[in-house]
Symmetry: C2
Subunit: 253 residues, 2 copies
């Protein structure tokens, strides 16, 4: 297939954007680790504060970073057969889901050990809604696109909903994380927060990085230029997606 | 222009979605008023807590509800000349911007009177970034689309960026509002929040309503079915958008 110089230039810009998103994502995960490790005593699985500390780390790693990257694979692996990319998309999502569930168990477990109440804050409401919808999205994706259960028409109808819900879930994950950061700061450093202590600044920067990661991901995913090109050779390989690619719908993953 | 029964059905569903979004938006504004009015002593412009109370009300009304509706006008007013819709879009945005700036002044003013620190929390960082970008987006929109300053090519290039940034701004506005709700609750009812007091539940419900409003708006705006149809008659009226509508780009407002 002929590739024009404009397409090369687009791919070069895209490569830089992907690199930028990965720097943002990894930095956010590392900052979360530093925040919980340096300021809150590190990690353990023993019902203490150290078990709680796994909650932010798992959520930033699984629910935000890996979920974002799972969506991004469709844009990154242009030359791979779509079937393989679909498998990778589902597998990274599964890993993200498992890590997120571990993070959720960590908070309930540490709350129970410390006799703290659950599910009363806006963070917990938004977080639980996000995890439940994430599970639902993953199961629906599996049924519609990896197993040949649904008809072509049903898959074509569901695809734009799946794509839209994926982006909403990413935004909800970032939003819930920001609520969690605010809640944790108010529990830990409420009296000194207004004097710009290092912990407060670090956590605020983490929040801004998560927003930048989410916005950059959404930009790359929704931008027409970075959409996977329709390639007749790969269409024969991607059996389930065949009917979807034909129309060249802008909602094609 | 012929309208098929499928298009009628789409418009009927769209009308229900618009009605739903307006119910969500108005309920959110009313709940904010009730929260600040009933639990925090109402509103005034005198440097007290009552002046602070204008901050959440203005932000939910201006930054979320009116900003969302300003974006929605392109989808709602299908039969109006695009030039008029563009004017309405800009004017509702201007109103949203003025109300948001009043809300921002209210918080700085009440903080100064009470000798509270400013701009240390994640809410304040995200909120200020949102307001600054909102101003920038409005000025850029004015220069590119209402005044004939930019060339057709430049307008066509900027349009998808304008649309993307508009949706990001709406998401940022909802996110910043949720952070503000959490912050306010921790300042007001931190000790009783875990016992599900009416104020905590009301504020959490407000947060969930704002998320639903944002998601519903994004769905209506990004859904291909609800996009403004290309109408040859109106193209002669919408001079500035002429070149943009020709390609039928999915990023057309």
């Amino acid at each position: 297939m002929q590739v024009s110089s404009a397409q090369y230039s687009d791919r070069a810009v895209f490569a830089w954007l992907v690199a930028g998103s990965q720097v943002l994502g990894v930095t956010a995960v590392v900052l979360t680790g530093v925040w919980m490790g340096h300021y809150h005593g590190g990690f353990a699985w023993d019902g203490t504060q150290q078990e709680f500390n796994l909650h932010p780390l798992c959520m930033v790693l699984g629910l935000v970073f890996l979920q974002g990257d799972a969506i991004l694979v469709y844009r990154v692996f242009h030359n791979e057969p779509k079937k393989n990319v679909k498998m990778l998309h589902g597998m990274i999502h599964l890993l993200a889901l498992i890590i997120s569930i571990v993070g959720m168990v960590a908070v309930f477990d540490s709350h129970r050990a410390a006799n703290y109440a659950d599910m009363y804050s806006l963070h917990s409401w938004c977080g639980l809604i996000t995890i439940v919808l994430f599970c639902l999205q993953w199961v629906m994706g599996l049924l519609f696109f990896l197993f040949p259960v649904a008809s072509s028409w049903l898959r074509a109808t569901y695809l734009p909903i799946h794509v839209f819900c994926g982006l909403v879930l990413l935004a909800l994950s970032v939003g819930s994380s920001l609520l969690g950061i605010t809640e944790k700061l108010f529990f830990s450093i409420m009296s000194s927060y207004s004097r710009f202590p290092p912990e407060g600044v670090l956590a605020n920067v983490l929040g801004v990085l998560l927003v930048c990661f989410g916005v950059l991901l959404c930009y790359m995913i929704t931008n027409e230029q970075y959409r996977r090109p329709r390639n007749p050779e790969e269409e024969s390989l991607a059996v389930h997606f065949k009917t979807l690619t034909e129309g060249g719908s802008p909602t094609e993953p």
